[in-house]
């Protein structure tokens, strides 16, 4: 099958929806995607949008801008496949599944655990989905990518209630790392292996920040898109990991990945893993939270400020900065989503050690862990699900639905079980439903719009055995100003915290409403909350963010005393 007639690949095939989610139409709206690259059905649907004036001739309709009449959200109501696991939440529309897309095993040179070690813990800690992402490397491309597969398949069979994807951690040429993963199937190993051999920065000796290597990264993203189009795998996703850690992911590279394949490159880690790394020595690693303790290098993007190399309230600077890089993408109307993961390699205070006689370089894996006897307090990670969670609103309990939810941006994240549930909807005042995370609400110009935020407070203890208490919820709003001319922009001039709710209620569901007033221009909104234990002026000043996350202190960052949740955005477009 030629790529010119690719199948509309990312729909949940278990049932048909009469409505399309914004992410589903994003590629139709994106004029960078040529008609020739769409299926006949999609060309037809694009024609409808075009004739409705949604895609203007000569207008670069990037992302959601001009999403127009097709903005209704995915109503996916099929939960028949849902597990009865009490850790999963359903709000009537979606099954909210907690997950983690960044986990290392003994098939990483700096990893340690078996696949089943991670899957058993993740399942016990409440995760409904997870992705195994060992580092791209010569050994992994040759050995690990194949050997890990039977371990993953065995874990799928052995553990009920947690979907286990195979992926890898891509050394993005010229940039940082990223999660790449595929829908399970006969070709999952073949596609990942081919991808790794062809496009991994370490395997290809292409880590340096050069234009040629940046082009190789784009080719890698396009390869994944093509593998889906050709039905070699049913689906594939790419999310950038710890994007600001070393200043390597420049704004134009992030924009480039996204624009190359908006349905494949869908977001980045809002919060990195390694959240125990800032625990003070000698009873902790004494490093930077997230192991964010680097300085600029020759390969880093020169305009990033020094604070971008540190976390803020455990979150990456690109996400934590109100009016910063993430907001600059959202203000363009680009769908781009955040996640929060463990990046678990070796767990804080674990007593196991790598198996005796281990020889990764020769074998391509570490010998399975053994009992060492002494808690290792220099390790900086948590088990998957223990601290960081990425909650996705899936239409049903299966692999395709999780991937579709990630792609649609029906995603919120939290640390330390700060909250149990989050339902955010933009709606015209007086109407009940509206549009949820990742969506686009299209209204008549001048309509009065509200953002309704329902928060289920933590009803029980987290894995540090205390009940987290939500202290504040902030609404962040920005104007949607369209495509930027300078693709290295990392500020959004008109974004700020527009409303803060102090939370005094201590149990149950908190219902908050932010009234936008009459909407006369395109805007987006996103929601954030905190335990309020460590707040102050945001990275761009108190006028933009009066009570934002603070830069984490090296060697003095207890992750349990500084908890946040972040939700992905909703756009409101008047027509």
């Amino acid at each position: 099958m030629g790529i010119g007639h690719g199948h509309h690949h990312h729909h949940d095939h278990d049932h048909e929806h009469s409505q399309e989610s914004p992410a589903d139409i994003a590629h139709l709206l994106d004029t960078a995607v040529a008609d020739a690259d769409l299926s006949p059905a999609d060309v037809s649907r694009r024609g409808v949008l075009r004739s409705a004036g949604v895609i203007g001739a000569g207008v670069a309709a990037a992302g959601v801008l001009g999403a127009g009449a097709a903005a209704a959200h995915d109503s996916g109501d099929d939960e028949r496949g849902a597990s009865a696991d009490r850790s999963r939440r359903s709000d009537g529309d979606y099954l909210w599944l907690a997950g983690d897309h960044h986990i290392h095993t003994q098939y990483s040179s700096d990893g340690q655990y078996r696949v089943i070690d991670h899957v058993r813990h993740a399942n016990a800690f409440g995760l409904g989905w997870m992705v195994i992402t060992d580092h791209g490397s010569a050994q992994h491309a040759k050995i690990g990518v194949e050997k890990v597969n039977p371990d993953i398949r065995a874990a799928r069979a052995a553990v009920d209630g947690t979907l286990v994807f195979q992926g890898l951690e891509w050394n993005i040429p010229a940039a940082e790392h990223g999660t790449v993963f595929v829908h399970p199937g006969d070709n999952e190993v073949a596609v990942l292996k081919e991808f790794e051999n062809s496009f991994d920065g370490v395997v290809q000796n292409a880590t340096a920040s050069t234009p040629a290597n940046e082009a190789l990264a784009l080719a890698g993203v396009n390869y994944l898109a093509d593998a889906v189009t050709r039905k070699r795998v049913r689906d594939a996703l790419f999310l950038a990991n710890h994007p600001a850690r070393k200043g390597l992911d420049s704004p134009h590279e992030i924009r480039g990945w996204r624009d190359a394949a908006p349905n494949i490159a869908v977001g980045f880690e809002g919060a990195p893993g390694h959240q125990a790394a800032g625990l003070p020595a000698p009873t902790g690693p004494g490093s930077g939270r997230g192991f964010y303790d680097n300085s600029p290098s020759a390969s880093s993007f020169p305009a990033y400020p020094l604070e971008s190399y540190r976390t803020f309230g455990g979150f990456d600077w690109m996400t934590a900065t109100v009016g910063g890089l993430w907001d600059s993408l959202l203000a363009e109307g680009k769908p781009w989503w955040i996640t929060a993961n463990s990046d678990s390699h070796q767990v804080y205070a674990d007593t196991s050690v790598r198996g005796a006689g281990t020889d990764f370089n020769t074998n391509g894996f570490h010998n399975p862990p053994e009992h060492g006897g002494t808690p290792d307090l220099t390790l900086g990670d948590f088990w998957p699900g223990f601290y960081s969670r990425t909650h996705v609103g899936a239409s049903s309990y299966n692999y395709a639905a999780v991937m579709n939810a990630l792609r649609a941006g029906r995603v919120w994240v939290d640390h330390g079980r700060l909250i149990d549930g989050l339902d955010v909807r933009a709606r015209v005042r007086g109407q009940n439903r509206g549009v949820t995370l990742g969506g686009v609400l299209t209204v008549k110009r001048g309509s009065r719009v509200q953002l309704a935020i329902d928060v289920d407070l933590a009803a029980g203890p987290n894995w540090a055995q205390f009940v987290a208490k939500l202290a504040r919820v902030d609404v962040v709003q920005g104007d949607v100003t369209g495509a930027v001319s300078d693709r290295d922009v990392f500020k959004s001039p008109n974004t700020r915290v527009v409303k803060s709710f102090e939370i005094t209620q201590t149990s149950g569901r908190v219902s908050l409403v932010y009234d936008l007033g009459a909407v006369d221009r395109p805007v987006y909104l996103r929601v954030r909350g905190t335990d309020g234990k460590r707040t102050g002026a945001g990275a761009l000043g108190a006028a933009i963010d009066p009570n934002g996350p603070q830069m984490d202190v090296l060697g003095s960052a207890d992750p349990w005393k500084d908890l946040w949740f972040y939700a992905n955005p909703i756009w409101v477009l008047p027509s």
Binding site: S109, D110, S137, E169, D293, S295, A298, A539, G555
Partner: protein, 195 residues
Amino acid sequence: MSERPDSGGPAVLGVDAGTGSQAEADHLLAAVAGGLGLAGEPVAATHFVRVGTPHVALTFEVPDGAEVDLAAVAAAAGPEAGIVWGAARRGPDERVEGALAAVAAHGRTGRLVRFPGVGSLTGTVTVREVLERSAVTEVSVLMGAAAAPDTEVLTRDHVRPEWRDGAVVLVVQPAVGGRVAPFEVPNPTPCCGDH
């Protein structure tokens, strides 16, 4: 031996060996400084070169009266290094370009590894002592209030200020116990073995 350059500021030797990281650059800087054999603590610095494959080049201030043994420098820096000293050029064109760029940047941008007084900035010292004892002219607290003179600086024996508009600025960040510590960590997490 080579004739010293005739310019307004201090005479500056430039070396570009295509070094990848700051840590490797520090290592090379020590080797070249050993080859130069200059007395005292003359300024030596690192500079990013973002042409071609991004890398790090070095500069060395050469005090009046001191002579430069280019052969010794070349021996320390390796045969593929570009060396610039006054009108003298050694090494491949691309590396000479990098060394020239570094010399041009010297005193305006870049990161000081050796500078007068650096040897006294070990253990824990106060901000006042940093300013009094060394060439550092300003201590700037990242994302924090201005540093009080009595604020303690946990140096970790690794102090790398940078030039900003002619000032020598040491950027510090809040550290354990109300102290501050230089932004640059001596041994940052390499994360991940393969990268």
